[in-house]
């Protein structure tokens, strides 16, 4: 991450200087930091709501029921969470919410799952294998119905926007599987 951070900033300034866009670049940089705070604040309400709902499910024992159902397939992907029931159900909730295109609901579940994984991590600064796998499959963004894109297409008057659903589903499945694959392969090289 350190290298990506430094690389992106240095390369950007070099290109900005060549393209004579230093003023725009500096301006965008400062605006982006402002936007980061706005996004984080925008998350508070949604995040609070879903974490509240999830906490009810947790306190009532519903999460344990869920984790029992999905334990077997999940342990194949995340072998080290056998004892971590909460992580199991939160990962399941995150993946199902994402699959349904409910990314607002998926984010709090995902963050909860990360916290559960972090609780069994020995080095709190460094991601575990399961954390990396979980992040990678989330960045692949698996979803059954791309609701936002469909809305944009029909708002712009496409005759049959639903024609993109099947190709999108195929592509996102390929991306999902390859994220899993790369995470599992690469973890051997990043000890």
């Amino acid at each position: 991450m350190n290298y990506i951070f430094i690389f992106l900033i240095l390369v950007s300034f070099i290109f900005a200087a060549i393209n004579n866009r230093l003023d725009i670049a500096t301006d965008e940089m400062l605006k982006a930091s402002q936007r980061a705070v706005e996004i984080a604040f925008g998350l508070i309400g949604i995040m609070g709501f879903w974490l509240g709902i999830v906490n009810i499910a947790k306190k009532s024992g519903l999460m344990d029921v869920l984790s029992k159902i999905i334990q077997k397939p999940l342990l194949l992907i995340f072998p080290d969470i056998k004892e971590n029931k909460e992580a199991q159900s939160n990962i399941a909730l995150n993946i199902s919410a994402n699959a349904l295109g409910l990314s607002n609901a998926a984010t709090p579940f995902g963050i909860k799952a990360m916290e559960n994984l972090q609780s069994q991590n020995k080095d709190k600064n460094r991601a575990t294998n399961s954390m990396c796998t979980f992040l990678a499959i989330n960045t692949a963004g698996f979803q059954i119905v791309p609701a936002v894109v469909l809305a944009i297409l029909s708002a712009n008057g496409m005759q049959n926007p639903t024609q993109i659903i099947l190709p999108t589903l195929i592509v996102t499945s390929i991306a999902f599987i390859s994220a899993l694959f790369f995470a599992k392969i690469l973890e051997r090289f990043y000890k």
Partner: protein, 177 residues
């Protein structure tokens, strides 16, 4: 099928919430207290991810504003022509992993430029719908728990994005060309 999926996405959230509440009644769980306790954490998490979000968003905004993407567009042009990929979609391929709002902006641009029923629009729509903003997801999820050493997580995410792009070009050429 489509009708069914639309109805499902409309009903799924209310059904989940109702189911959770009914289960809580059945188990005699104090739902209101549990809700407030849980919601309290939303604020803490949102505050905690701010530094990570700033770092990532500044990087990606700088990169987009610097004109580096236009430069890469020129480099990729021969390759794109060879595979019959519309050149308008270069920018969306490069921004997809960097910024979600920018991607939607570029999608709108492509619709404006090439028309809503063009091949470029369909390809861009599939690319947008089939992936997530890798850098944003990484900063939020790892930021929330204070992870600073990402190890292979980002690399795996980006490689999967590249495979996704290649798949998008391939699948779209089968479906729409």
């Amino acid at each position: 099928m489509i009708q069914f999926l639309n109805t499902l996405s409309l009903w799924i959230l209310p059904l989940i919430i109702v189911f959770i509440l009914i289960y809580a009644i059945y188990k005699k769980t104090p739902a209101y207290e549990a809700f407030v306790d849980g919601a309290n954490e939303g604020f803490k998490i949102a505050i905690k991810i701010i530094p990570y979000l700033i770092a990532i968003m500044v990087c990606t905004a700088l990169f987009r504003a610097s004109g580096a993407i236009e430069f890469m567009e020129k480099i990729f042009k021969p390759l794109f022509d060879y595979f019959k990929i519309p050149i308008e979609t270069t920018i969306i391929m490069l921004t997809r992993s960097l910024s979600g709002s920018a991607t939607l902006g570029v999608l709108a641009d492509i619709i404006n430029q090439t028309g809503v029923n063009s091949y470029a629009t369909k390809l861009a729509a599939v690319i947008t719908g089939s992936s997530e903003t890798t850098f944003y997801v990484a900063s939020v999820y790892f930021g929330a728990v204070g992870i600073k050493k990402f190890r292979h997580a980002l690399l795996a995410g980006i490689l999967a994005d590249v495979v996704g792009l290649i798949a998008a070009v391939w699948i779209c050429s089968i479906f729409f060309l």
